[in-house]
Structure formats: C-alpha cells, structure tokens
Amino acid sequence: MSRSRLPPTLIAGAAISAGFVVAALLSLVWTPYDVTAFDIGHRLQGPSAAHWLGLDHFGRDVASMILLGARNALSVSLVAVLLGAGIGVPLGLLAAARRGWTDELLMRGSDVVFAFPALILAILITAVLGPGAINAVIAIGVFNVPVFARLTRGSALSLWTRDYVLAARAAGKGAARISLEHITPGLASTLIVQATLQFSLGVIAEAGLSYVGLGAQPPAASWGKMLADAQTLAAFSPLQAVFPGLAIVITVLGLNLLGDGLRDRLDPHLTEDG
C-alpha cells in the first residue's frame, strides 16, 4: 500500500470532521447572530443575504442555531465516547490479562448490555435522572462501554501471544505493567478507528434523544430539537426541517468517511463488525 497518497474519501471525511469541530469551537466565541433575542415578527423567513439559512419559528437565525447545535452534538458524543473508552478499555485489558472467570464475566455482562434496546434504556435513564445533555451523555456512553471492552479484549488477546510480550513476561513484568506498556500502544489505531465510528453513532443518538425532548434543554441549541420544532411546520415551511437534518447527515457522513478511511490506512485487517 502506498503511503504517499491519501484516498479522497479520507480527505473529504477529515475535512468535514474538521469543519464540524471548527464550527463547534467557533460557536463558543462567535455566532452570526445572537440567538437569545427572539424576533417573533420575522419568524420563518426564508434564506436571505442577511440570514443565509433563514429564521426559525422564534425568529432566530438558523445558521447560528446550527453552529450552536454542532457544539452540543460534539460535546455530547465526544464525552460519551470518552466515557465508553475510559471504562471499556481498562475492562477489556483486564479481561485479556486475567482470562478465565473475569473474561467470562465481562463477556456475559456485555451480552446483557447489548441485549437491551438502546433507545428505550436511554429513555428510562433520562426518566430516572431527568432530561439534559449530561444525562444524554450517560445514556449514550453506557452503550459505548461494551463496544470498547470487547474490541480491546479481542485485540489484546492476540497481542498477549506476541513475542515481545512473552519476553516482557519472562523479564518478570506484571500483567498491569505489560497491559499499560506493551498492549495499549498496539491497540491505539484500532481504538481510534472505533472511536470515530462510535462518535458518529453518538451524533445520531443525541439527535434522536433531543428529538423526543430528552437531550439538551433549551436555550441550548440541538439539531434534534430543531428537527422536532420544525416538524409541525414542515407542510408550509419545509426548509426548517431540511437544514438541521442536513447538518446531521453531513456530520455523520464526514465522521464515517474519516473512520473508514483511517481503518483502511491503519489496519487493513479490521472487518466491519469489529
């Protein structure tokens, strides 16, 4: 494989993902308009030179709302991935190092989590904890844990049979130290690829939760909430439903292209169901 030329899909994915991150960061310091000021009189205006994507049902600038929505999507999915990896990776390392009962327990435990209908469990979690961005993170993050745990375990098991690991064991290093010093670096590329894909799943999941009113609470902007607001207006102001939907599709598309591209590049042997 030639390392000199990057495939165009990877470049496109990286560009879109970078755009997403920049939009989210930009919204921290600047948006084209102030979305806390409602302008009911000019509600539902179409796109114009002043407002590129028009105004929403409260007369807020849609482009600004989408930028703020990017921040929400980014933070919720990113923290959910970090939460999933933060708990899942150590569990996977532990299972691979200990084998036996620990391993069996982890695998069966992740079977149980996987057996739950994700959205319904998320709804229950928000019923217990109340709606909001932080609880959406927890609801999404819970399902990331077994994904990372299983992936880590699978890859770590094969790394444990490598010569350099055997050498380290012979040198008297403990299982914890080997996991940290020799196994984890070998997992990095696999984990980065998976993190990108879970990240894109998180964006869709966050939009779904916000759509049913369980995600970020107003005045925080969220793409799913924008879609829910737009739905009843769809018959006479269809653009309201189009822009936030497109924002989700483009972001998820970009992250998936990035993830697939990285997978091809970093680890050609990984299969779809990793």
Binding site: F116, P117, L121, I123, L227, A234, T271
Partner: protein, 848 residues
C-alpha cells in the same frame, strides 16, 4: 436474476402496498383527541379524557348541562327541592334500559350514588357527593335524596361524569367494558389508537344519526396536522398545533373554530422562600414579560392576554393587563431595589404540552433581558406532579389551570405556588357571605386585583380552544361548559355512504401470531436437539437464561428508582393522600422489594406479565396487540432492506473499483448517515401530505384487510429500512470482496465458471455469515428501534407503548416490554448462531 430485475421487483412490491383511495364514510365519524383515556370508567379516576370519550355517549346521568350551562332533565324528567334544601326528589324517565339489558329504575339510582360515596370508592367527586346522607327508593320511578346540609351545587355535581348511572351487572368492569344508558354503546378499544362506539338502537330517546363513532388519540402536533389535513380524522377537538391553523383555515373542506376556554396559562412562582418571596422581585418579573410576544410566539396569536387569574369571558372580569407594562428598565430597577443588581438565577420546570414548552423558551428569553438567568428543565407529567406540584421543588413553572372559577386555589397556603395572604382570605370569606349578584361581582373584582397587585404569578394568556372539523359535519357541540362531547345530534351532510365498519377486536391477531410463533419455536428446538445434540443446546440455554435473569434484575432495579408515583399520576391533582395509598396498595406497589421481584419473575415464567396500572388489562394482552403491529413492521423493514441492500452490495462487489461501485457506495454512506426519524418526516411530507398516496399514520388493524394494514406500514417500514439497506449493501459488498479473494473462488473461475456464476454459486453462500450477523443485530433494533418512527406515524406498536408507559409511570408495562425486547435479542442471537452452523460447513464440523 439481474440487479435490474430485483429493483423492478422491489418497486412492484412498494406499489402494491400503496392503498387505493377510499370513499369517505358518511355515518361514521372519527374524532381526534390529544389524550387517550387510561380507562373508560368515568366514576373513578380524574382523567378528563375518560369523560370526553364515554360521558354523554355511553353514560348518562340524572341531569345534564346544556350548551349555555343551564341544568336540563335527562334520566330524571323533573325534580322537587324541599324548602329547607335538604330533600331532593327525582322523578325518573320510564322505559330506559342499560345497554346490557338492565332496566333503569330508582334502585339503580340508589346503587349508583351509594357506590360513589362508599368508603372504598375511588370516585374523584366522592367528597362533593358525600353531602348525600341517604338515598331512598320511594317507588320504581321516584327516588329521594336526603342531604346532610343544604348544597346549592348538588345539581351541578350531578351533571359531572363522575355521577353517571351505572348498572350493578356491569359496574365491576366499567374500566374496560363501559355500559350505560346513552345513545352509543362501546364496541372496542385498540389501546394506543382508537376507542370505537356504535349507535345504541335500543336508546330511549331519539336515536343518534351517526352509526359509528371512533375516538382516535393523537398528541403529536405534526401527526395531528397530517391526520386532519388528509381527513384521516373528521374532527379534532383540542387541536395541538396553532402554528398550522392558518393552513387549515385556507382549506375549504375544513372548518376551524376558536373559542376561549376556562383555562388560564400562568407563569407560576414558588414564593415560599428566597428572592421570589419578595414582592418586588415578583413585580420585576411581571415587567419583564411581554404577553403579546408570548401569545404570538408560542400560540401563533391564538389566546387572550390576562392580567389576573380570571377568564375574560366572565361578566365579573376586570382588565388588569395594564398593571405591569412591559418595561425592562423598570424590572431591572425593581430587582436592584430588592438587592439583586446583578440579576438572579432561577429554574423553570416545564410540563410536556407545547404551549408550556414554547412559552417557556420565550419567557426565559424575556427574563434574560432583565438579568434573570433562567435554567429550563423539561419534565414529563409524572415528574412535574412529583417535583413541582408535590414537593414544591421549583422556582418557576408554566401550566394551564383549566378548572372554571378556580381562584380559591389562592386561598390554600399549601398549594404548589405557596401564596398566603390574610387580605385575600378575608375577600374569600366575604365572597361566601355575599348575598346579591352586584356584591359578588364587586368582590370578584377585588379578588382579581389582589392577586395581580401581589404579583402572585405571571398571568400570561387565556388558553384558546382550537377545534378543526370536516366542513360537512353538522350539529356538533363545540363550545361546551363541561367535558362532554355531544355527538347525539351530529351528522354528515350529503348522501349516506356504504362503507362497512369493522369493529376492533383486540388481541385476536396477536393471539394467533403468538400461537404460530410458539409452535415454530418448539418445532425448531426439537430439530436442533436432534441435529446438534442436547448438550450443546443445554449449554446455550443456560447462557440465555443467565442473560435474561441478569437483565430482569437490571430492569427491575431501574424501575425501582424511577421517580414519580403511578398512583399519584392516575388520580390527578385533587386526590387525597389516603386515596393514593389505597390505589398503591391495589396496584401491588407495597411490600418488600425482593418479594415483589420474585412475584414478578415467577409470573413471567408462566406468561403472566401482571396487570397494567393505567389500562387495567393484563400486560400480556396489551403486548400481544402491539406485537401485531411491531413484528410485521420489523419483518417488512428487514425484508425491504435485504431486497434493496443485498443486490446493491453484490453489484458494487462485482464492479469493484469501477464507477458504479463508487457511486453506489457513496450513496450507501449517505444512507447510513441519515437519521431514520428525519427520513420518516420527509416521507410523510412527500407521500402523505403532498401526494396523498398513503395515510399519514395510524393503523386500521389487520381486521380491515391486508391491503390497508400493509399500506399503513409501508412508509414506516421504508423509513426504518433505508439506513439498514445501506448497511446491508456495505456488508454484502465487503463480504463478497473477501470471499472473491479466497482460493475456492479462483478454482471455480479456473474451472470455467463466469465471474457472475461463480459469485452466485460459491461467493454468496459464504458471504452470508457476516450478513447474518448484521441481520441478527438489526432485527431486535427494528422491533424496538421503531420508538421514534412509531411516534412519527402514530402507530400503536411496542415502542410507543413503552414510551407512553414511561411517561404515565405504568411501570409494570415498561418492565414487561423491556424484558420481551431483551428476550427478542437473546433469541435472535441464538438463531443467528444456529444459522452460522447451518450455513458454514466448517463450523458444522467443529460443533459436531
């Protein structure tokens, strides 16, 4: 078979699913309401929706209110009141029979009223009716009530749905099978979707003109718009989407009626402690509010501004909307005076209806201008009842107070907003002693002024009653003073139609399906035991059982910590703690946790999932009904995704690296990225509202025939299938590419097979393994993943059942459905494992 012919086949299937236009039935009316009644017994529970559906249709009382609010005879033809006001003698109508054949007489009146005031009664008006000391049968057509004290409101109390006449033969089962003396009889209830009534041909009075009445329950504003616009429903009595009323007004086939209701929408302020106990802070909030902007923004202009807790249509109304003009500088000044020059932080907890959520966003933005930073929290009703109403854990909330003339709530210091004023109490005492109308009006004016000057709450607007009707519908009672929907005289203009209406028979489809499934499972297990040996099967069974057991513990544990009390939710705002405790006991919510868990687990083992708190029917039956929608939907979506996805993947694999591959794979990347609920909304916009090819939602039931039923599932299945098809295409492609590189494929080609034949003969079977894995993952997702899709299309499926059960705290239903879905996952995994072995000869040897 070529790719093209497969595509053609898929298109043909889709076309076959599109139902033909059907003639509008002229003696069947479909009335939409936002809320489904939890049960159909108007004599227990506080649900307004119960009265709306069965009171005046199925049930009748002794007297009724007419459209002007005057008391009129009904089952009593006339009555006398003794001069001391302690004895009421009712003379009853003759020849009246209940729908179950029981004749109506004085004994029935005695039975009905005594039942309502009995110690174990859960009647919401028990307290008001308890003024009746004794019910005496004088003769079969005459009954005498002895009162403990004079009560000028007694006749009004008797016009409520809680005071209807019930037959001793059917009184025990009114919740699920209501029987009364009214012009319609109950024929069926498809839970989550429709209650059906048919004309009562044995009615004592003028028979109803309509033959069938169907109540449909649609709370979602978008679904409501689609349903009324496409004439899926003929009347929407509490239309939830003011934003689309302008569109509906422009439609000559529809009539829009707006009126004022008795409901005041208020920004309630918890003034017990903290900054909000200071009247200056509360006045500052008033100055920060701009009512016109709230009404325009949240209600699209529908609604009348109010300045106090009083309906503008009342004769005693005083206009106080000018008391606190919108003035940010004044608001800031008042806050500074009160010691908050830098503003303050408050929480605003909002219940689910759109009026509250939208007003809340605008109120938060308006208060922010004055330096009041508001944190919004959206709550479900159960959470709202618990936190705001029950525990007073809030600063601000927005809610509509729908009860007429309810200013007395300002005289209760323990009421949720916590207002206490001796001056106001004095006014209330004076009102009780008022003798003439002029004096009364004057005191009512002072009451309004007192509340407004104390800035108790932010008074936003009088809630509008928005009705949308088919223009041909006549004599429909719209502006009623009670929760009655009078359909007695209603009819359609024009000739009678011929469409036959099939009454919903609940559960039969589900039961048959269940039987078939059970047989298939038993047969399959026997086959597997014979093939792979009992040891393998036993091992798998133990793992499955352990997974299910762990899952049941997790589910039960989560359910235990869900805040909100189902009993409190069911009995509503005015229930006494004693009644709630009674109901909790009846529901089996008391007792040690471990014991309740074991009881639930043991019940599940013989298929008993318990009894739904709200619907009061077995959970298993409810689930059976819903599976009849969700399972076919999941199967249809899966079939669609395979039929579309697999050939596309095969095509891409065969043309690997060529233009077709790039284009198709690009499209699948987009397909994977599309959220299915967004796709669903787009589908409804195009196919239901614009093209009118398929109904916008709802489910007619399998009894209505295969065509209409599949037609109702077509769009939802398409929405669910689209992203799945993209995934399947990708998996098929990569699996085929992997197998194409295998040695046996090269051998097949060397043998002289064409590339295409080699692919179909040898490649595809081997590529099935990853495909099966994906299908195994997808099926349970489709079964439950329809939650949002089912909401978009208001399909009565499992997902919507569980969502509704969570919000109503019908936790036993939640437990049951979640366990069922977990079981579906575990069973699917097992089947996939078995399929692996069957498909892949290498695995077969290893296992054997």
């Amino acid at each position: 078979m070529s790719f093209r012919s497969l595509l053609g086949l898929a298109a043909a299937c889709l076309l076959a699913l599109a139902p033909t236009a059907r003639a509008a039935p002229r003696d069947t009316v479909t009335v939409a309401l936002q809320l489904e009644p939890p049960n159909l017994d108007p004599t227990s529970g506080a649900a307004v929706a119960t009265d709306e559906v069965v009171y005046g249709t199925v049930f009748e009382g002794l007297v009724r209110l007419d459209a002007q609010g005057a008391i009129k005879p009904l089952l009593a033809t006339w009555w006398e009141i003794s001069p001391d006001g302690l004895t009421y003698t009712f003379h009853l109508r003759g020849g009246v029979r209940f729908q179950d054949g029981t004749p109506f007489d004085a004994g029935i009146v005695k039975f009905s009223l005594e039942r309502a005031i009995a110690p174990a009664s859960t009647n919401v008006q028990k307290q008001a009716l308890s003024v009746i000391r004794q019910v005496e049968v004088v003769d079969p057509r005459t009954v005498r009530l002895q009162l403990a004290s004079p009560d000028s409101d007694l006749l009004y109390t008797l016009t409520w749905g809680d005071s209807v006449m019930v037959s001793p033969r059917s009184a025990g089962s009114l919740a699920t099978a209501p029987v009364g003396t009214g012009p319609f009889r109950f024929t069926g209830w498809r839970r989550g979707d429709t209650v059906s009534l048919a004309r009562n041909d044995g009615y004592w009075g003028q028979p109803a003109k309509l033959r069938t009445v169907r109540f449909k329950f649609i709370a979602d504003p978008a679904a409501a718009f689609a349903a009324i616009k496409t004439h899926e429903v003929d009347a929407f009595l509490d239309y939830p989407a003011p934003e689309s009323l302008a569109q509906l007004r422009a439609d000559p086939a529809l009539e829009v009626v707006t009126a004022s209701s008795e409901g005041e929408v208020i920004l309630a302020i918890n003034q017990r402690t903290g900054p909000l106990a200071d009247v200056r802070v509360r006045r500052a909030l008033q100055h920060a509010l701009d009512r016109r902007a709230i009404i325009d923004g949240a209600m699209y202009g529908y609604g009348t501004p109010i300045g106090s807790h009083f309906p503008p249509q009342n004769a005693a109304y005083v206009d106080l909307t000018g008391l606190y003009p919108h003035d940010i500088a004044k608001a800031k000044a008042l806050l500074a005076q009160a010691g908050y020059p830098n503003g303050l932080d408050l929480t605003l907890k909002l219940p689910p209806p759109n009026y509250a959520r939208r007003s809340g966003e605008i109120v938060a933005a308006q208060l922010a201008q004055a330096g009041v930073r508001v944190k919004i929290e959206n709550l479900e009703w159960a959470q709202w009842l618990d936190q705001v109403y029950g525990r007073h854990a809030f600063d601000l909330t927005i809610v509509s107070h729908a009860e007429p003339m309810d200013y007395a709530i300002y005289d209760k210091a323990d009421y949720y907003f916590g207002y206490h004023s001796e001056a106001f109490h004095g006014l209330m005492q004076a009102l009780k002693g008022a003798t003439d109308e002029g004096q009364r009006t004057a005191i009512l004016g002072q009451i309004q002024r007192r509340i407004a000057e104390d800035a108790v709450n932010g008074f936003l607007f009088q809630f509008p009653r928005l009705g949308v009707f088919d223009a041909r519908l006549k004599d429909f009672w719209v502006n009623s003073p009670t929760q009655i929907i009078d359909l007695h005289a209603a009819s359609f203009e024009g000739p009678r139609g011929t469409e036959t209406i099939i009454d919903a028979k609940s559960g039969s489809a589900g039961a048959i399906l269940g039987g078939v499934l059970a047989l298939a499972v038993v047969g399959g297990l026997a086959l597997l035991a014979a093939r792979f040996g009992a040891v393998w099967l036993g091992g798998r069974a133990v793992v499955m059982a352990l997974t299910l057991l762990t899952a049941s513990v997790v589910v039960f544990a989560i359910i235990q910590v869900v805040p909100g009390d189902p009993a409190a939710y069911m009995l509503g705002l005015n229930a006494s703690p004693e009644a709630i405790a009674n109901l909790r006991h009846q529901m089996g919510l008391e007792g040690p946790t471990a014991q309740r868990y074991l009881a639930w687990l043991l019940g599940m083992l013989h298929g008993d999932l318990g009894v739904s708190y709200t619907y009061q029917t077995p959970v298993a039956a409810l689930v059976g009904e819903r599976i009849g929608v969700s399972l076919p939907l999941a199967l249809l979506a899966m079939a669609l995704s395979i039929v579309v996805g697999a050939p596309i993947g095969a095509l891409a694999a065969a043309r690997r690296g060529k233009a077709a591959d790039t284009v198709v794979m690009g499209l699948t990347q987009v397909g994977v990225a599309i959220p299915n609920f967004w796709f669903a909304v787009l589908l409804v916009m195009v196919f239901s509202i614009s093209l009118r090819w398929v109904s916008a939602g709802g489910f007619p039931g399998w009894e209505a025939g295969l065509g209409p039923a599949l037609g109702a599932l077509a769009l939802p299945a398409l929405a669910l299938a689209a992203p799945q098809a993209a995934i399947i295409a990708r998996v098929t492609r990569s699996a085929l590419i992997d197998t194409l590189a295998e040695d046996y494929m090269r051998t097949a080609r060397a043998k002289g097979l064409t590339a295409r034949r080699a692919l179909w003969r040898h490649g595809l079977p081997n590529a099935l393994i990853p495909l099966l894995t994906i299908l195994g993952l997808q099926f349970p997702f489709l079964l439950a993943g329809g939650v949002i899709i089912e909401n978009v299309f208001f399909l009565p499926g499992l997902g919507r059942l569980v969502l509704q059960a969570v919000t109503q705290r019908d936790l036993i239903v939640v437990q049951g459905v979640v366990m069922l879905l977990v079981f579906a996952v575990v069973a699917t995994n097992f089947l996939v494992d078995v399929a692996y072995v069957l498909v892949d000869p290498r695995l077969r040897k290893r296992r054997g």
